[in-house]
Symmetry: C2
Subunit: 396 residues, 2 copies
Amino acid sequence: MNPRLAQLQPYPFERLRKLFSTVSAPSGVRPVSLGLGEPQHPTPQLVKDALIESLGGLSRYPATGGEPALKEAIGSWIERRYGLPEFDAGRKVLPVLGSREALFSLTQTIVDASRERATVVCPNPFYQIYEGAAILAGAHTAFAPARRERNFACDLKAIPAEVWRDTQLLVLCSPGNPTGAVMTLDDWREAFALADAHGFVIASDECYSEIYFDEAAPPLGVLEAARRLGRDDRGLVMLSSLSKRSSVPGMRSGFVAGDPEIIARFLLYRTYHGSAMSPPVQHASIAAWGDEAHVRDNRALYRRKFDAVLPILEPILEVRRPDAAFYLWARVPGADDVFARDLYAATGVTVLPGSYMGRAVDGVNPGEGYVRMALVAGVEECVEAADRIAAFCKSR
Amino acid sequence: MNPRLAQLQPYPFERLRKLFSTVSAPSGVRPVSLGLGEPQHPTPQLVKDALIESLGGLSRYPATGGEPALKEAIGSWIERRYGLPEFDAGRKVLPVLGSREALFSLTQTIVDASRERATVVCPNPFYQIYEGAAILAGAHTAFAPARRERNFACDLKAIPAEVWRDTQLLVLCSPGNPTGAVMTLDDWREAFALADAHGFVIASDECYSEIYFDEAAPPLGVLEAARRLGRDDRGLVMLSSLSKRSSVPGMRSGFVAGDPEIIARFLLYRTYHGSAMSPPVQHASIAAWGDEAHVRDNRALYRRKFDAVLPILEPILEVRRPDAAFYLWARVPGADDVFARDLYAATGVTVLPGSYMGRAVDGVNPGEGYVRMALVAGVEECVEAADRIAAFCKSR
């Protein structure tokens, strides 16, 4: 068996199950989970309709590269969303079955494990797939810590020069999971300079890009940043997904876009990897990428939750409205796993210990002392959870 | 970039496009493709209905391991189809997004490339994914040739003992693509003895298992063979798919079943690999695995094509009804690629050169001199194609 499998870290939710195994929610109290980042808003009708309309496509093998109409729809969306004119979707876009699958297969495509100390650099804390994909590709990992004093921006200066020299891939997440931090143009300038100096690829996970607060100020994307800085997209790819944007986590639809040379190698890998998108899902994805009304509604619903929950939690915990995404990243008293366990036992509310999403580097785990709260349930449920958290904190 | 990508062979259909690039079908003649093995029968209504019913599942993340109800439905099907009582679906079944994806990810899970000369043995000729998956897993490949004199059974004796010593995975395909050959109990006995002697895994690709001619004699499967021979399923996995059985190549649904230790490692790999099955597709798959009426109809339709086409081709070419599957494996005069090219230029009929599906070992490519004809179009179209092929052969 593949020995790299033995190097994988336990998954955060596995650790959470273990943490909760000795306690239970109080009886008579309805549990509320702010643990999993699973969008729960209803699926837009136009997506369902497009899927039903195109079920004839079940009797055709999908091409790995995706149908030209889907690539065009994604290309047009990129043009509108990021102000990138004449985006060459035919060469620069590849549909994928969601961010997880894409992050994994892209990492396998890029990493050359035959080179000594091949390294993938990830944010810290981070979405665990980054690390697992690196390990299974045979790479070492290094971690750029989120700095509280810098609005949780990733500190690329924390990575030593000798690590950058071995780096083949830098994964960034903006808006960030779990902190919600959005990278600024200056942040991107710094990342591009490092990539150019050391010749590595940047993969920008932008799966939360459409969940933001100010309709006039959507989060900056990597390809947009490159254009604004007068840089081409060599060595740059973005990953996006419909899961959060259109509340269809069960549809498994996203895309990777950017450097056409990387996209071409990625397509070659995927020809064998075999995750082609079902034709009806391609059709439904075309409908989803082509419509913004349901996305605005979706954002408005998340905004209502933050507006309702923050006044309850802000007086109690160190927590603030994030730049974007649907998480609260809250500093809690004491150890974050003990806090999460005791909170669950006292109130039935599940939050994710921040340390489970981080890795200790030189003894410091930048997730430590925080918990992640995913505002994915209904407004009332989120408010109910916030009330219970506030009462729990006051009682301690 | 991953240097293993550069070792991949050109895909057969890529080579076919190149082969045909200098010729065109005669004008005024409707082209008929027997090239791609893409099932084209209509999707059963019960599958579409189940999908539509369960679109609410688009708003849930699917678990990588699949819903218990799907695993149970697959387990029940295995029990009925292979006479395996009390099949422990919870530990022995994993849903996958079709055979290609599963063959690829299973190979990545099993191969330990850190061991020198890690080897994957494949049939020859064969479905190209076997080789690509092995290369991308960092393994060497070795090939067991199909023997014309043995009804195109794979000759495992052709593999030298020193290759078996380094073998980590033996991929078999029964019913075989492209030959349609079904492995007998004796064939399995030989394969099991080698696996036990050398400690490798057997992955049995059984995606064509439900396309056969005699309703009373379905093809033998690997798990069934093991049971009949009094062997447990240690080191054995089967791969199956709905694509051919239920004519839903665009739904991307299949499963891997067998040795629970392999399934557990495979699940761990897939947690990162990220190809979880969409909940509505899981629901539609439950409906499909639970019904045999549509599968019998499907078989009857393929049978009609063989009954209609064979009397036209048998007097002209060395070709016979295969054991199973929907291919004809026909010996042709001269070089198979020249035959395919000239046939296309003269008649507009596409067939796949057998040599494109084989690899030369010691100067002999066992696909050479054959073409594969996929009887996937309608009955009339298949008959029309056979008539054109017969006329073409007579005119040469």
